[in-house]
Symmetry: C2
Subunit: 418 residues, 2 copies
């Protein structure tokens, strides 16, 4: 493989996670190890920054700040949910790449973002521009196919399991067989985050909270839900419920307390927790319902990040650079779990096209017969991913995070016209 000399460009896309900046740090550190890499640039707000030629010089950032990225939530380069639509957009991306001699493009994101990455790759091939494109996985939802798990998920799982265990002690103190405590968590299409609440249970204590987990994989029934709650309240002082925002009924419509409908007349995402709260209050006299909706908190809780997750997020960044330097392109870095009982993980590669726009759901056989709890197969899968704590420096009592200088790369092209 002939060495390809040129510049590196990194972009972040989609919802941030507690550890997505660790992947940026891994990419920068590894890129600077290779002589064929001349400059290391960042695109502000993903493809939006490419279109607008808003690039920053990452090599000029202090090592201190790049190191601090490892524990900094959000997306330090800015993010976007923009999808390239027109042929002219792809032409513009390539024009910017040529103008800045970008030969290595790393795009950190989920399914939608990797769809963008593979299309940029195809366009470069079609135009005969030598470019290596490697996708770096990122999503708290853990729903990317081809990879054992996704960086970002472990930290959200740890935060939710921690929160549920803490909440349970509060609920236990206040409940007298008359308290339903509901936590609504993220997970648009798959129940990985909701399922991770089951990691709050102690080993061999299946009756530990959370008592009921409602997943997008299992169609929701109001009658069964009320039955479930009555059964738990007979046995326990309180009933702790974790519900995924992506809960749907048997027709596939979102379960939501919000009367707002989308363009197709379907209920919009969000409000599943409120729906269950209302259901309880309307049908179980004398029972109090309490709702917590951590919302965006659960993907930015760097103070409760998983060390395994943060380390793997850094690792996939490094691996992306190594793969590109070795001549790979149009691939996603994957995490491949070892076969041993003791958890181990290394990186692999999968075609970007296998990942783009596909969704990995919870296997049905990891969910118990009752439909509201997880079995040992899920625990065996998820528990290793939440191990270890990340030491976050504090100043004046709150965590301190990286702030990049964002020194702009000079624009050389005419302004982008949307």
């Amino acid at each position: 493989m002939a060495e390809l000399a040129g510049n590196v460009l990194v972009g972040q896309s989609g919802g941030p996670t507690a550890v997505v900046n660790a992947s940026v740090a891994g990419i920068i550190a590894e890129a600077l190890n290779h002589d064929c890499v001349e400059e290391v640039y960042g695109a502000l707000n993903g493809v939006l920054g490419i279109l607008q030629e808003d690039l920053i010089d990452l090599a000029s950032e202090s090592q201190q700040q790049i190191r601090a990225l490892k524990h900094t939530p959000g997306a330090a380069l800015g993010s976007c949910r923009y999808k390239l639509k027109k042929q002219a957009d792809y032409d513009r991306v390539l024009e910017v790449f040529k103008a800045h001699n970008i030969r290595y493009f790393f795009y950190i994101g989920g399914n939608d973002s990797q769809d963008t990455a593979t299309k940029i790759s195809a366009h470069a091939v079609a135009q005969g521009y030598e470019l290596r494109v490697i996708g770096v996985p990122k999503t708290v939802d853990n729903d990317l196919p081809a990879t054992d798990h996704c960086p970002g998920f472990g930290s959200t799982a740890k935060f939710i399991a921690t929160t549920v265990r803490e909440l349970a002690l509060d609920n236990e103190a206040m409940g007298q067989g008359d308290l339903v405590s509901i936590v609504e968590v993220m997970g648009r299409s798959a129940g990985w985050i909701a399922a991770s609440a089951s990691l709050a249970k102690r080993r061999d204590q299946p009756h530990d909270p959370p008592h009921l987990i409602y997943l997008p994989e299992i169609p929701f029934s109001q009658d069964k839900c009320l039955e479930d709650i009555r059964r738990v309240l007979k046995r326990e002082k309180f009933c702790q419920i974790v519900v995924s925002e992506g809960l749907t009924d048997s027709d596939g419509n979102y379960v939501s307390a919000d009367p707002a409908l989308d363009a197709f007349g379907h209920a919009q995402l969000g409000g599943a927790g409120e729906f269950i709260k209302n259901l309880v209050e309307a049908n179980l006299p004398g029972v109090k319902a309490r709702l917590s909706v951590p919302g965006l908190m659960q993907r930015s809780a760097a103070h409760s990040a998983s060390k395994v997750d943060a380390d793997e997020a850094y690792l996939v960044g490094q691996a992306a650079v190594k793969a590109a330097i070795n001549g790979e392109t149009d691939k996603l870095v994957t995490l491949v779990r070892g076969d041993n009982d003791t958890y181990s993980c290394e990186t692999g590669l999968a075609p970007l096209a296998d990942v783009a726009n596909n969704v990995k759901k919870l296997p049905r056989e990891w969910i118990n017969e009752d439909g509201v709890s997880m079995n040992f197969q899920f625990v065996r899968y998820a528990q290793p991913l939440i191990q270890g704590e990340v030491a976050v420096p504090h100043d004046s009592g709150v965590p301190t995070f990286a702030r990049l200088d964002k020194s702009r790369v000079d624009k050389v092209l005419p302004a982008y016209v949307a």
Copy 2:
């Protein structure tokens, strides 16, 4: 002061906090230092446990578990919101105290709970039963008068400031002048918790998020709120709002999206965040609103507890026992701040009657003219209370907490008839 020999009883009441069990640990440890104390009992679920003679033997718990109480959220003895109503209830309490030779009663709780404590004290005096009653302050709301601050507040303040700083990085990555991010926090009558979000700002960076704080102390106006948001969105990529659940309009009615009304036809507590979200979506075209409602999470987040707060919660427990042994009764332990620039704090005593059912609000002069931000006086007050982190042991990736054996004290009285 003649030495009073007898048994100690501890109870917890009202909503738990991340550090309320540290006060229990402080009481037990100190009580066992004194020869005049024979047994150390706990009442399960506060006064409910006293009425029902549900007492446990705290001295028989392992030292390991009592030590672990210092970082365990919830209320390890169970809690209640029960108010003694009838004369017969007070008679029953005294009957139980006599039956178990309770001479020292420590009640850990907020305003309502201390009202119960002072009434029990008065009843004992009236009946000529020698009893020393000391209240131990506890409330995340920080709204008890007579004490500089309340154990529990510092940890919730730290969690909210941490969360807001983390969320801000997520919001900054996603916003393009079109994002409003709302966090609804606790605070029924006073805005201490909402105000504490301002600790997320860096020193001398008044434009740092949170950009707008809506407090119960300042009557809410929809028009001003929309103006505030428009002003911030002109300047920033996003607008971060923290709103207290106890927000009221100029008539004193709760601001709430929930159409449920109380018996007087007023909107019920909760839903202020949803109200602002709806306001934004209805009035600011193209602007997205995101809502996080940590709910009970914010009072049980032991994984993010303040070391100063946990230490002071232990200290007030110890101080309560020392005061009672010294002959004090019908008093609340208070926290008294030193006069120096460097934060220091010792305990004091105040009459329970001064505390019961009173509420301390944010001083108006600590709130800026704009009504939506805090000035240096608040920061000087609150910042010392969130300092330091509590090391919480983890097992399998989640924090581990104390579990008491709860060895029951034999009942000697006829069953309680409600």
